[in-house]
């Protein structure tokens, strides 16, 4: 779903009834956090620190910071990442996921700057690389820096009963192909999932989309189908990806796929331009097409609540303070 501008005042209208609230919620992607309480959808207006703190799990996804990029589409990717991280701090998540393209050219100084800006948030950040992070050294610098070791590429962890899996689909890419997980990783994934209860919610995060969004631009992962086959028996699977610098969604049975906005620059919708390169927008609208994703989980039997927040909605909320 594409983000829409938050309309101040609508939620606080004294004439707002349940029907209007639901209509508003169906239209707005920004500024509303939907959660399920006892099976009934409840919308909470999101304003700076008045954001309701859930008792369950809350985490944030950021993506495609491209530190080192400085062309016309965004001359200051550092500043927009900083704006994103300021908002992350305000949301007080338990941790952050970065779905890759942390840097633009895999340079050490770019990783340094990214780490410094992301470090505005003092909690744990779990990274997976994008193709811009593994240029020239198979990702050794990236894995050493962000995973603690070149041997630690893909991994999983648990939080509040949710099983998180970070996958890498940007290594050993083949000519003419898409993203690629590879046999070793697929075997690891199968083992990791084998003995888990099907009622365990899964969150899979990886850079390139795990469904074929647009083949002409290489937007997909060659061996994703096999990975997804290991997840089919699970009741709740959420796949969080980056790479395409825009929010697209797909639902396939119990699997919900979400791609994410970038904090650096937008890219065109599939097929809307000759190529998927950085898309220039008027300077005043740049922060409307960049953003982060806020995800909450209230506990068993409720789905993950996903809310995309553009950087300008963040700014507007702060301005209203």
């Amino acid at each position: 779903m594409k983000d829409s501008k938050h309309v101040p005042g609508e939620e606080s209208s004294p004439k707002l009834d349940r029907r209007q609230l639901l209509k508003c919620g169906a239209w707005a992607g920004t500024g509303l956090l939907w959660t399920l309480a006892g099976g009934v959808p409840v919308a909470s207006a999101l304003t700076r620190s008045a954001t309701p703190r859930t008792t369950g799990l809350r985490f944030v996804q950021i993506s495609d910071s491209h530190i080192g990029f400085h062309k016309e589409a965004n001359p200051d990717a550092n500043a927009t990442l900083q704006a994103a991280m300021n908002e992350v701090v305000g949301l007080q998540p338990q941790f952050v996921l970065h779905t890759g393209d942390v840097s633009h050219l895999s340079k050490v100084e770019e990783f340094d700057t990214a780490q410094q800006i992301v470090g505005t948030y003092r909690g744990d950040v779990h990274y997976v690389p994008g193709e811009h992070d593994v240029i020239g050294d198979n990702g050794n610098t990236f894995f050493e820096r962000f995973n603690g070791s070149t041997d630690r590429k893909w991994y999983s962890f648990d939080a509040s009963g949710v099983h998180f899996i970070g996958l890498v689909n940007v290594l050993d890419l083949q000519a003419g192909g898409f993203g690629r997980l590879g046999g070793e990783q697929l075997e690891w994934l199968e083992r990791d999932l084998k003995h888990r209860s099907a009622s365990t919610p899964l969150v899979i995060f990886t850079h390139m989309p795990l469904w074929t969004v647009y083949p002409d631009w290489g937007w997909g992962t060659d061996d994703a189908t096999q990975a997804l086959s290991y997840m089919r028996r699970f009741g709740s699977v959420t796949v969080l990806n980056g790479h395409i610098h825009q929010v697209l969604q797909k639902v396939e049975g119990h699997v919900k796929f979400f791609t994410a906005m970038s904090t650096a620059f937008p890219q065109p919708a599939p097929g809307a331009a000759p190529s998927p390169g950085p898309m220039k927008v008027p300077a005043e609208t740049l922060r409307h097409v960049l953003g982060i994703r806020d995800v909450s989980y209230q506990g068993k039997h409720s789905p993950l609540a996903v809310s995309d927040r553009t950087l300008d909605a963040v700014d507007a909320a702060r301005g209203a303070a």
Partner: protein, 122 residues
Amino acid sequence: MNRIIARTLALVVCGWTAGVLGSASAGEDALGSQPASGAPVIVKISNFTFEPATIKVSPGTQIKWINEDDVPHTVTGTDPKSPMHSAALDTDDSYAVVMGDAGTFKYFCAVHPHMVGTVIVE
């Protein structure tokens, strides 16, 4: 006297010839084995495409790739024996290779693998 003159002349000629040959070698080293008359064949990298995607050149031709996109690309041979293995090319960066033996050399962008090209040397 005549012998001295003849010897001096011979030395001058040898020296001049060596100088010419030396500078010619230096010139060849600077240009690689590119024929003196050959300008490099240019392949543009634009809109996530190698243009032209397929080129035919004769052995000894230099090919130069120039990246015009706002994102980095590479020129990476699909065969380990390929002469094409560039570093990441940022906007306006270029990469040149002199093609040696005859053959068909496929390559792609290691960052955006959907981008493919072919060099045919014959």
